[in-house]
């Protein structure tokens, strides 16, 4: 039959099914294939907190959303064009996210009586039969049956055969978007190298799904999303947590320091530990500690010994590390703390995203305890900012917070990765050996940046004691002198403030001083804000946008930028935190736009916020 090739600019596909259905793997495979094909893309995995949540239920639905296009893509997409639903619960949970007249690909075997009951569908109300899907293009087929059919000859048992069904769907979607399946064939070869029977089964089913789509009479349309016009260069696909780990490794390599990572497993930060543990040939020491406190304390010990030391966690773990953060700050030694934020407070929403730990990072310690705070804006920006965190920590002898969040940590995008020679140098200077008749070593003497020296054990003549008690401004000995304490509190604050001289200036990402309104974002809201501002520009509404990545201290020129605008809107995935800092530091009448639902902003939500503010 004749097939129409429909050309599209951007498409959003949502794969959804039971958390045991292999949805994340399917999604990641499609994302990698999409990246290799040359589309720009952004992904958003959304999974339940439970490892194997109750099968068939709405709570157990795992999703993977991918937005890809021939034009720049900055978010995983608001609503999707295609919903792949492996069972009734997946359809019911996600139908509202599908665009009008969108496409639904349905596995009918996931709509039997039991699945319908588990999804809470009333008897006789099977959405596949009750005409409720009439506004959509629905493609139904029995994936389980087709998978079993294609594996008639396989020596595998039924359970193992059924586990291949995600490959059927993947093959099917590859065909829909006119793709080659080679990248996934290669992936399977590596993944199942030691299990030839499983490799064969998955390969057969992947091909079966592809051919089924090709020969099945119901499909007359095939879509094509042409490669995006991205800046020239060499690209790869990267996930946020992976990029963070690579940034840390790169910084250690460039600074010629050993990387030490002390941490405790926590969602959604654990993948940083996993990624680092893979690259031990870089001399990376990963230490899975007994708890969060031990994770940071071991890192402090390693830093005292001269390693580039890092710990990572999420909100609850960071709360536990608070006291040790104060110690690192008193010791004035380099330390990088990554907070992959998730929904809080308390255990909160472990697998969902939020930006609600900003004030915790800025203020969450006893005493006057300023620590530099920086934030990444996208999966690949995690690399840049992890590298920056290390640079600031080492060159300014201070703990540094890097904030990312579950959204960008698990999301993926194409990355025009740098060459190692393009990376900024990181200057490390250790205090040098002293002879018996040299002047006594003064551990808290500061240079022009107000930075003290890093004196490693093992260096002759530098024997000295440090600790959490207030120290004398030069000798570092314990001091309870009133004048000295005030001096030390102020000098520690001034040292952090001075970092502003060593970070990039703030720039407008779009718009100009003449724009009607300035949107100020920080961290992972970048993509959604950029998408909106571009859309509005096309519609003739001139909006300025700036994204703050250096939060403590803020860039020196930020105040000047803010002063040019009458209307400032601050969208955040929290109840208003950056806005407090901005109002406090610059006395501007900024307005908040908050979303606290555990999911990222949709572009349309920010658009609505901007348009409402413009009306006022």
């Amino acid at each position: 039959m004749t097939q129409v090739h429909e050309k599209l600019e951007k498409v959003t596909v949502l794969f959804a099914g039971d958390s045991g259905d292999g949805i994340q793997l399917t999604g990641n495979q499609f994302a990698n294939n999409t990246a290799l094909y040359g589309n720009d893309l952004s992904t958003f995995p959304d999974f339940p907190a439970e490892i194997r949540a109750p099968l068939g239920t709405i709570a157990g639905v795992s999703g993977f959303q991918i937005h890809f296009g021939s034009v720049d893509v900055y978010t995983p997409g608001d609503r999707c064009d295609v919903l792949v639903a492996m069972n009734a619960a997946a359809l019911i949970k996600n139908l509202s996210r599908l665009k009008e007249r969108g496409t639904i690909v349905v596995n009918t075997s996931g709509f039997d009586k039991r699945n319908l009951r588990l999804a809470g569908v009333e008897a006789g109300q099977n959405p596949l039969d009750n005409h409720s899907l009439e506004g959509y293009k629905v493609h139904e087929f029995d994936v389980t049956k087709l998978t079993r059919e294609s594996l008639k000859e396989s020596p595998l048992g039924t359970k193992d055969r059924d586990r291949c069904k995600n490959m059927f769907v993947l093959g099917f979607v590859y065909w829909m978007y006119n793709r080659k399946i080679d990248s996934s064939l290669e992936f399977l070869k590596t993944k199942f190298a030691s299990k030839p029977e499983i490799l064969e089964a998955n390969t057969i089913v992947l091909k079966a799904g592809y051919h089924f789509a090709d020969t099945c009479e119901t499909f007359s349309n095939r879509f094509e999303v042409k490669p995006a016009k991205m800046p020239s260069g060499t690209y790869r696909n990267v996930i946020g947590n992976q990029a963070t780990a690579l940034g840390l490794i790169a910084a250690a390599h460039k600074s010629k320091l050993d990387l030490f990572y002390g941490g405790y497993p926590i969602t959604p930060a654990s993948d940083i530990l996993h990624e680092l543990a893979k690259h031990k040939n870089f001399g990376i020491k990963t230490f899975q500690a007994e708890d969060e406190i031990a994770g940071i304390c071991a890192a402090i010990g390693a830093s005292f010994g001269g390693d580039l030391a890092v710990t990572a966690s999420s909100g609850p773990g960071i709360a536990l590390k608070g006291e040790a953060l104060g110690l690192a700050l008193m010791l004035e030694i380099p330390l990088v703390i990554v907070n992959v934020q998730r929904g809080g407070p308390s255990t909160g929403l472990p697998t969902k995203t939020e930006q609600a730990d900003l004030l915790q990072a800025v203020y969450g310690r006893n005493g006057e305890a300023p620590i530099p705070v920086i934030a990444a804006t996208s999966p690949s920006d995690c690399f840049t900012m992890a590298y920056e965190a290390c640079r600031i920590a080492i060159e300014h002898m201070t703990p540094v917070f890097l904030l990312t969040d579950g959204y960008i940590a698990n999301g993926a995008e194409p990355w025009r990765y740098p060459k190692s020679s393009d990376l900024a140098d990181i200057k490390v200077t250790f205090a040098s050996e002293r002879k018996a008749d040299d002047e006594a070593y003064r551990p808290y003497k500061r240079n022009e940046k107000l930075v003290r020296s890093w004196a490693l054990p093992g260096t002759k003549g530098l024997e000295h004691r440090v600790g959490g008690l207030e120290k004398d401004k030069e000798t570092g000995n314990v001091s309870y002198e009133p004048e000295n304490h005030e001096y030390m509190v102020k000098i520690r604050a001034e040292k952090v403030a001075k970092i502003a001289e060593y970070i990039p200036s703030q720039e407008l990402d779009s718009g100009s001083e003449n724009s009607k309104l300035l949107v100020v974002g920080w961290g992972s809201t970048y993509g959604a804000i950029k998408t909106v501002v571009r859309e509005l520009a096309i519609e003739g509404v001139d909006i300025a946008h700036t994204q703050i990545k250096y939060i403590q201290p803020m860039p020196k020129n930020l105040g000047v930028i803010l002063s040019k605008f009458d209307k400032i809107l601050v969208p955040e995935m929290n109840n208003g935190q950056l806005i407090k800092l901005i109002r406090d530091q610059y006395l501007v009448d900024a307005k908040p736009l908050n979303k606290i639902k555990g999911v990222p902003f949709e572009a349309r939500e920010i658009k609505e916020g901007i348009l409402n503010m413009l009306k006022q």
Binding site: N32, A35, L36, G38, S183, P227, P231, S232, G233, T234, Y235, R236, N237, L246, A250, H253, F260, G262, H279, K280, N281, F282, G283, K285, F287, A289, E290, D291, I293, A294, C297, A298, I300, G301, A302, S303, F304, G305, G306, A309, E323, A324, L331, R416, Y417, K419, S420, P457, G458, K460, G461, L462, E463, H464, R465, V466, G467, G468, L469, N477
Partner: protein
Amino acid sequence: MAEAKDIQEEVQKLTAKDFVSDQDIRWCPGCGDYSILKQVQSVMPELGIPREDIVFISGIGCSSRFPYYMNTFGMHSIHGRATAIASGLKAARPDLSVWLITGDGDSLSIGGNHLIHLLRRNFNLNILLFNNQIYGLTKGQYSPTSEVGKKTKSTPMGSIDHPFNPLALCMGAESTFVARALDREPKHLRNILMRAEQHQGTSLIEIYQNCNIFNDGAFGGFTDKQTKKDNSLYLEHGQPLVFGVKEDKGVILDGFEPRIVDLTSGEYAKEDLWIHDEKCRNKANILTRFFDDPSNEGALPRPFGIFYQEDRFRYEEALYEQLDTLKKLEGDPNLDKLLAGSNTWEVE
């Protein structure tokens, strides 16, 4: 070579004085900490380690002021966490001689978790656990080693916390070197310190230390001239368990039960007694259970010395072995290759 020789000569010239820092000591007059500090300072020159390679790390509490008084590298950290900090330091710098100073509150209460995990990992470092059975720095609350019924400011009706038996706890945590010493037995303490440094792995020494302000005489039974010989049992590898003023009492192992026997009646000779074997885990476990109140009739004597010593792999060695293995397998690190990953594409 010449350089190594110079270092050796210089180290040989070190005396206890070289390990005294310029800081005034702020412990209460008469505190048991003074004696321990003095023994540590006098042992240091005998270790043959350059001063700059020695690090003292402590938590919080009276004893944790210790690093300030040692002219070595030192860190006075936060409550209970010296154990975790020392672990990280040792992982980063296996070349250093690391000494951890902690107390019963610091390492058995707030830092209990890190202590047990350090012991099982067996980093090669030395822990001096000053046990005075009281919170001194916070002015006299009961500690996790205080006896039941202890009356303090926080327990006016007497403590109802059953105390830890610290050495039994350490045995349970897979410790490879378990010893007990006393602030008032300096020579014995020095020997134990030397043995601790020689042990390759985590050495734990519980040191009974008298707090003369808030818990004076807590260990009187083991230090007073009149009673100490009847209440204390000094362990020596390969030697029978003999104690008493006139060395007139011994311990035999009757099945799993230790029993005190009289060596003067003629029924038992030294040859019949339990012979101490540092390498025997089962016997060490029983020895740590010699934990009776010495004032009780028929109480087993409290052992001092090395209960147990075992050679087991050190965490930091295994860590570096893994790094070396991977380096051999994958070759020198190539950052450009790492950043590129396995799938790339060109955009013109």
